[in-house]
Amino acid sequence: MKAFHLEIITPERIFFSGEVEELIITTPDGQRGVLPSHTPMIIAVDVGEIKIKQAEKFKSCFSAEGFLEIRPDKVVLVAQVVEWPEEIDIRRAQEAKRRGEEQLRQKQSLQEYHTTMSSLARAMARLKIKKSMNID
């Protein structure tokens, strides 16, 4: 199977670097797959799940906002936070979700609203990935 080089980089570490067969990311318009020899492109990445296909198997992980740069030689995903499902702290995510929902009920400035919405989105995405892992 054809493969391409993928790097996933966050401010705190190099999360992933290696050959993969397919990558699925969440964009503001929905999910999007990247296969080898994709045309050079820059894609905004939204909070959600990303899937990496290696040896015919998909591995999923959580990703916060970022962007994907598809170059002829490699693909680079730069994101704020990327976590494997086993690294997700479910209690922290639940707490963040509760806190976010609580804050939404209160009066907020527009800036506070955006902050709350994005932290809520992160918490929900984390919980969703954790949940889908437990069912498998």
Partner: protein, 288 residues
């Protein structure tokens, strides 16, 4: 100085030495932590800047507020210093550089990170517009996110035309240097030092559109840069404090050594004196 005076001084310097020694040990631990953070962040920042340079190079003219030309001269300065003193020349260097850098700028906004920066500018009668609290110590991504949100708001609403950040760059554990970098608007000139990583000549497509990609990319870039600058500054502070405390401890050792010598001499002199007195007295009695 008599013997009791010297004894008192030795005791007090030993106390001070204990403090400087402890501070040295603490900052060396903190420095190691900061350096490991810095190392992990360096790759991220390099890649991020490379990508942005790539995009700027390969995309022709993108019409976006973040890359427009600088028209006005209202500049926002962010100055990063430490929360505490006793770090050698660390705070002074960066703050004096900031003052020099801000000269000649008529309309300016001043943001500070670290108590030392705030109190310094208050003393010099500069208006501090916003003070970001609890960020100078142990910087987290979360702080960088907050700061960049404030900055982007100011910039997109047209309150400022330019955002600069002044911090201390860590060259090595032994040398640090205050630096100023421009955050916004973005321009190819600020990426001269970034090496290009490929020679591919095509252009990129954007999904959904160049504008919306830049809308998410630039905040990312800012968060990345602010975080790394915070980490740099924090590491510099610890390195600087470590060096300062090390030399203070050595000074204390020197002084103690000196005083011990003086103490021995004074004691010896006192003993000799007493002996002389006794001998004289004995002689006088025998002569009688």
């Amino acid at each position: 100085m008599n013997i009791t005076e010297i004894k008192g001084r030795i005791a007090s310097i030993e106390q001070t030495r204990k403090i400087t020694k402890a501070m040295y040990l603490i900052s060396s631990v903190k420095m190691r932590k900061a350096l490991s953070k810095l190392e992990k962040n360096a790759t991220y920042l390099d890649r991020l800047r490379m990508t942005i340079k790539d995009i700027l190079l390969h995309s022709g003219d993108i019409d976006h507020p973040f890359i427009k030309d600088c028209t006005g001269n209202r500049t926002a300065f962010i100055v990063i210093a430490g929360d505490k003193g006793l770090a050698g020349p660390f705070n002074n260097n960066v703050l004096n550089m900031a003052i020099k850098h801000m000269e000649g700028c008529e309309e300016r906004f001043l943001f500070t990170i670290g108590h030392m920066a705030t109190s310094f500018f208050n003393r010099k009668n500069y208006m501090v517009d916003i003070e970001f609290l609890h960020t100078a110590q142990n910087p987290e991504l979360y702080h960088a996110r907050q700061i960049s949100e404030v900055l982007i708001d100011l910039f997109t609403q047209g309150h400022v035309d330019r955002i600069e950040i002044i911090y201390t760059h860590l060259i090595s554990t032994l040398s640090q240097e205050p630096r100023a970098i421009t955050l916004l608007p973005m321009d190819l000139d600020f990426f001269v030092d970034v090496k290009e990583d490929s020679n591919f000549g095509g252009t990129f497509q954007y999904d959904p559109s160049p504008k919306s990609v830049f809308d998410t990319l630039v905040p990312q870039y800012l968060i990345g840069v602010i975080y790394s600058v915070l980490v740099q500054s924090y590491a510099s502070e610890q390195c600087s404090r470590m060096a300062a405390m090390d030399s203070a401890t050595q000074n204390a050792d020197d002084i103690i050594k000196d005083l011990r010598l003086k103490f021995s001499r004074a004691r010896q002199a006192a003993v000799t004196n007493e002996m002389l007195e006794v001998a004289n007295a004995t002689n006088a009695v025998l002569d009688l």
